[in-house]
């Protein structure tokens, strides 16, 4: 076993042969350590760069600085408790992860979700997507020096947080919903907030867009920076806005629709060059398309109705029943202790998360916790392409490329 390990070790070639550089400023190769704590790397990533003057010849990333062993922890927690773990994957858009996980368990157990619940889920998922894209684009603005957009868009994010609070009580790590739906219906305050949001958000968003969209400095700093071609992107397993910026229109919501996305009419924005400016524009346009989806879902949503599926086996009973009736208490007890008939088998379910195809591979052995749960984390897979994307560019371009990839540390290391 150890000789196989020896064969797979790095072949130690000279760096100049590997990274052929025709122009050398003074011919001296320096090693620069970017990170792990660096103001512009949002999250903890270390990159050891070999630079020639300011031009980057090669980069060697190190990850794992926030490895929290989610997959090992998931083998000890019940299905309902794992929702709290999925919050912390891509924590800028926690509801997406939560609802994706609940759909995975519903796929495993064969639970049918009523239409109204699906529409509610679509509204919440699209709000989460808007929140995620707003952070990413504001942060690209901050890294190029435009701090105003950051302050404006964070006010809008607070409005989204207010809506989350009306549903689940928390802002960031939402733990939203239950397996089978939601724990309570949308209240009047939520309806008021979302109507206000739908009426006023786009105008403020366009003001923010005008700051950066045709801004000479921003365009000069981002066009042609961090390019990747479509073939290399597919080979590296790119998904989500980063892949769509290279020209491939793969969106899980359209490709294999889940949760009634086929009922809605929306476009998928696609870029052409695969550089930072395209990634920025794709995310901006996705925000507008998300507002379109939310409007359609909200108009067709009945104001009162069911908010959970009718499965007493897997849906935690309402608290009035748990505390006041013996049947409710026994139901709750059995579910928490895992004495419900969870099927044996495996499923792979994927949703379109903030960064692309977020997949859950669940192997269940009939018990309370999964036998194996693996998260297909888009950030982890496409961050491998980062050294290739920054080769031959200067250091400030490398910083902007990293923030435009929207690499979230929680999703990277899980």
């Amino acid at each position: 076993m150890s000789e196989d390990l020896e064969k797979s070790k790095i072949k130690n070639e000279g760096v100049l042969e590997r990274t052929f550089s025709t122009e050398t400023m003074d011919g001296q190769i320096a090693t620069l350590n970017l990170g792990p704590t660096h103001p512009a790397t949002h999250g903890i990533f270390q990159n050891i760069l070999k630079v020639d003057g300011e031009k980057i010849l090669s980069a060697e990333p190190t990850v794992g600085y926030i490895h929290r062993a989610f997959e090992k922890m998931a083998e000890r927690k019940s299905f309902q408790q794992i929702t709290t773990l999925t919050d912390r994957l891509n924590y800028c858009s926690s509801p997406l992860n939560n609802i994706g996980w609940q759909m995975t368990v519903e796929k495993l157990c064969g639970i049918e979700i009523p239409k109204r619940v699906q529409y509610m889920r679509v509204i919440i998922m699209e709000l989460a997507r808007i929140a995620d894209h707003l952070i990413c684009n504001s942060v690209i603005g901050v890294d190029t020096g435009g701090l105003t957009g950051f302050t404006w868009m964070f006010i809008e994010r607070e409005r989204i947080y207010d809506m989350y609070e009306q549903i689940c009580g928390t802002r960031l790590t939402t733990n939203i919903g239950r397996i089978g739906g939601f724990e309570r219906d949308l209240n009047d305050k939520f309806h008021a907030l979302i109507q206000d949001f739908l009426n006023t958000f786009l105008k403020r968003f366009e003001e923010y867009n005008a700051l950066l969209d045709r801004n000479r400095i921003f365009m000069d700093r981002t066009i042609g920076v961090g390019k990747i071609s479509a073939e290399r992107a597919l080979s590296y397993g790119f998904v989500g806005p980063n892949l769509r910026a290279t020209g491939i229109d793969y969106d899980v919501r359209v490709h294999s629709p889940y949760c009634s996305y086929e009922d809605f009419d929306f476009d998928i924005p696609v870029g052409t060059e695969g550089d930072t400016y395209d990634r920025f524009q794709v995310r901006q346009e996705e925000v507008r398309q998300s507002i379109r989806i939310i409007k359609q879902a909200y108009e067709n949503l009945p104001k009162e109705g069911v908010y959970h599926a009718d499965t007493p086996l897997f849906y935690l009973p309402p608290k009035e029943n748990v505390y006041n009736t013996i049947e409710g208490m026994i139901n709750h007890f059995k579910q928490v202790y895992g004495e419900m008939p969870y099927p044996v088998g495996e499923v792979y379910h994927s949703i379109e998360g903030g960064n692309g195809e977020l997949g859950y591979y669940l192997i269940s052995d009939g018990g309370r916790s999964p036998y194996r749960l693996q998260f297909r984390r888009p950030c982890f897979i496409y961050y491998q392409a980062y050294p290739e994307m920054i080769k031959g560019q200067v250091l400030s371009d490398a910083v902007i490329t990293l923030s435009s990839l929207n690499v979230i540390a929680g999703e990277l290391d899980a």
Binding site: T37, R88, T151, F154, R157
Partner: protein, 186 residues
Amino acid sequence: MGKVTETGQMEAINYEGFQLTKLDTVIGAARANSLWPLPFATSCCGIEYMAAMSPNYDIARFGMERMSFSPRQADLLIIAGTISKKLAPVLRQVYEQMSEPKWVMAVGACASSGGIFDTYSVLQGVDRIIPVDVYVPGCAPRPEQIIDGIMNVQALAKHESLRRRYSPEYKHLLDNYKIDNDIDGE
């Protein structure tokens, strides 16, 4: 300042005057109201910290307009997020590079005690490697709680004795963490 008349009311004076106070008070007020934080934001609590920087909650009114990302220029080390064992030496190095007086605030359950992650790879609380002054519990704590933590740090900074960093108790604290404190040049 003003002359106090018999009725106890203050009058404003419009000539140059003197202010009589203690050195501790002035320096404490200056330190407390101009803390430069080093946001060591690793995960979800970092996003709540960014929300605290946003106009809705605004920590700039506490004197924290400028984030210092260089430890040499920072007063307050805000650790927001999970610290894994891989990252612990880095954090320790950042703390040691800061110069006295320095305060440490652990934001969130993960930084305070490991949080929900009782695993083989997560450091169970940042106070295993560096001394912490203020803990802000929550997962993730609301920006108001973070601001409350900052106000507690300000209270500490304002009322701290000027000789505290030279005292044997402080040296004993740092010795427990095996941190070399050469503040008096030894």
